[in-house]
């Protein structure tokens, strides 16, 4: 036990005396959180809007005012001909153009008015968000002006977003960032820390010491488990302070699930270190073998349901996918273990498999 504690102490020295490790450990979570929270967002505000108003008068101006006064749009250009319209897109002066026909007011009174929305389709997601927003604003405006006499007979779609009523993208990114950070910190740092001993030759001394391989591995991993749990708590706290993202479910359960995921990631890290001889290889393997799948295939950025079938099948072996489901459910839906036990079981299974594989592959000698 004494040697185990000495080993862990040594590992903490390594971590706290290496600026790069510290930066990855504590700088990256904050940077990613701020990046995803502020910059990389799917919410649309202040999109450039151009108007081709062929009609004139108070009535249509009101409509334009209504569009522009919302947070969504920002009037950049008044267009006066069809040629100018194309020019606006080519010069990227607007993402969407609203075309109001000449006899709009008369037709409106006869209930046959039409408005054309032309969006820049080079960014399809943005285009569809913009046309939806514009349509919504126009419909609301129309209802206000139709009055009782002109009741438009239609089905009222009353849409509400459960769990994230304001559709804040940061609520969705916080679980994603935690997932990435835990995967990266745990797997990358632990695999690098093991391969560093190989590179320096100190591993030979550890081999010839009476330390058991299992003591060495666990001694390597314990510091990262502790730091990663702190990291997860730190990100949650930051998310709450900066973006007021709450944890709706049990924090205890969340941290326990994080612990499980950290152990999964660490066993991946050990596995990586058994096949790489240098820190460089370990770094590359963790980045390309773990980071990219974690970001791309976990459902963090791209919904799994819209992936082609082969990718959907592959996504099942990505531990991050399962953890993301768990953490989202706990944080946003506030559910308990009863609702995420299946995903938890999948992670437990993966972890046991990975640990078994790492121990089997771990050498008590040089190759």
């Amino acid at each position: 036990m004494k040697e185990f504690i000495a080993f862990i102490k040594k590992e903490f020295y390594h971590i706290f005396r290496d600026r790069r490790t510290l930066l990855v450990l504590f700088g990256m979570p904050l940077a990613q959180l701020l990046l995803f929270g502020y910059a990389i967002t799917t919410e649309v505000t202040n999109a450039d809007l151009a108007v081709y108003n062929q009609s004139s008068g108070q009535f249509t101006n009101q409509l334009v005012d209504k569009l522009v006064s919302s947070d969504f749009f920002n009037l950049t250009e008044n267009v006066h001909s069809k040629d100018e319209m194309m020019d606006v897109f080519r010069k990227s002066k607007a993402k969407i153009i609203v075309v109001i026909p000449p006899d709009f007011e008369q037709k409106f009174n006869r209930r046959e008015a039409q408005i054309q929305l032309i969006a820049d389709g080079s960014d399809p997601n943005l285009a569809s968000i913009l046309t939806n927003s514009a349509t919504g604003i126009i419909m609301t405006w129309m209802k206000g002006h139709a009055g009782n006499a002109m009741q438009i007979e239609t089905i009222n779609n009353e849409v509400r977003w459960h769990y994230n009523p304001e559709l804040k993208s940061v609520s969705m990114f916080v679980p994603g960032v935690i997932t990435i950070i835990l995967m990266l910190v745990s797997a990358m740092l632990s695999s690098i820390s093991i391969t560093r001993e190989k590179e320096l030759g100190t591993i030979e001394i550890l081999y010839v010491s009476p330390l058991k391989p299992v003591t060495i591995i666990i001694g390597k991993l314990v510091p990262f488990i502790i730091l990663s749990i702190f990291n997860a708590a730190f990100i949650l706290l930051m998310a709450y302070i900066i973006f007021s993202v709450p944890v709706n479910g049990s924090i205890m359960l969340l941290l326990l699930e994080s612990l499980l995921f950290i152990i999964t990631a660490l066993s991946l890290g050990v596995l990586i270190s058994t096949v790489s001889e240098t820190q460089q290889t370990a770094l590359m393997l963790s980045l390309f073998g773990l980071m990219l799948p974690t970001i791309l295939l976990s459902g963090f950025i791209f919904p799994i349901s819209s992936m082609p079938l082969p990718l959907q099948i592959i996504s099942n072996v990505i531990p991050a996918k399962w953890f993301l489901i768990i953490i989202k459910d706990i944080m946003l839906k506030g559910v308990g273990i009863m609702y995420v036990w299946k995903e938890t079981l999948v992670l437990v299974g993966m972890t046991i498999g990975l640990i078994g594989l790492s121990i089997k592959k771990y050498n008590i000698r040089l190759q």
Binding site: Y13, R17, E204, Y207, P210, R365
Partner: protein, 306 residues
């Protein structure tokens, strides 16, 4: 104390050591001398259980190092060739760490490392990475000794260390030997061979000779002539032309000729002077262990080509 029996090991089909047999007695300071890639590290790694031999067995106190690796690991002190300690830990932290993982304390075995560690004590709180080469080597030796091993295995401990530190290091080994530690040391420096009790000359995975330094010199069986001149390169070329019955090598400022027949010094001198090397001096020399190794290694190589 230590026994190698028919040990062979190859890496991906390239033989590293080939049918190695030798023993090291208790309390001996045994040297393994050979150039880089000769197989010295491989033998030491097999003995210290970090590598498995393909063929043969190695024994530590009559225990097989493969079957009984735990026992070997507890009782052997090993300083690997590229062992550079934990650079980011201080001198004291390094020593304490190795003491603890070997289930002991610094205080318990301090008497063994006292002479060495005393020189490091002023720098106790300095990071190992900031030490000079000689200091690092002393720290590494202290760490390898801290659990009071019966056998100390040192893989090229003086490699890349300055001449003064090298001498100091060998003095330390001498005093450790006096304390009863059996020492196996490898080195690419042939002059260090004379400091061992017995040496094995190893080349391309084969042991060419095992004997005491004096014994090796006695077995030389050739005459050594020293040629002193300012024009070493020209003289070497000239000697090559004159006869192929000997081998001539530059040894620092002079050329050594190993010849199985005795030579007429005056004749040879005349020949060299006539070839333009006018400042040449030739005399009979007493062979050093380097000469014996040089000769052994080269004749071994030439036999390979025949």
């Amino acid at each position: 104390m230590v026994r190698f029996e028919h040990i062979s090991k190859s890496y991906e089909g390239n033989p590293a050591v080939n049918d190695i047999n030798f023993r090291v007695e208790k309390g001996e300071l045994f040297g393994l001398i050979g150039p880089d890639g000769a197989g010295k590290s491989t033998l030491f790694r097999i003995l210290t259980t970090v590598l498995l031999p393909d063929v043969g067995h190695a024994y530590f106190k009559d225990r097989d190092v493969v079957d009984d690796y735990r026992y070997v690991r507890r009782n052997v002190g090993y300083m690997p060739g590229k062992f550079s300690l934990y650079q980011d830990l201080s001198v004291k932290e390094n020593l304490k760490f190795f003491a603890t993982i070997f289930n002991t304390t610094i205080a318990e075995n301090y008497d063994l490392i006292k002479d060495i560690y005393e020189q490091l004590e002023p720098f106790e709180s300095r990071r190992a990475g900031a030490l000079s080469g000689g200091m690092k080597q002393k720290l590494a030796l202290s760490c390898a000794l801290i659990h009071k091993p019966e056998v100390l295995v040192l893989d090229e401990p003086t490699f890349g260390v300055d001449a003064v530190s090298r001498r100091e290091f060998w003095d330390m080994l001498k005093s450790l030997k006096a304390k009863g530690v059996t020492i196996l040391v490898s080195t690419p420096y042939m002059d260090e061979a004379a400091l061992c009790d017995r040496v094995a000359l190893i080349q391309d995975g084969n042991i060419l000779k095992i004997n005491t330094p004096d014994g090796i010199i006695d077995q030389f069986g050739k005459q050594l002539y020293k040629v002193v001149t300012q024009h070493i390169y020209q003289a070497l070329q000239a000697l090559e032309k004159i006869s192929d019955e000997w081998h001539a090598y530059s040894f620092g400022q002079e050329i050594h000729i190993y010849s199985s027949k005795s030579l007429n010094i005056a004749d040879l001198k005349g020949q060299l002077v006539s070839m333009g090397i006018d400042d040449v001096q030739i005399e009979i020399g007493k062979p050093l262990i380097e000469d014996c190794f040089m000769d052994l290694m080269v004749s071994e190589k030439t036999e390979d080509y025949v």
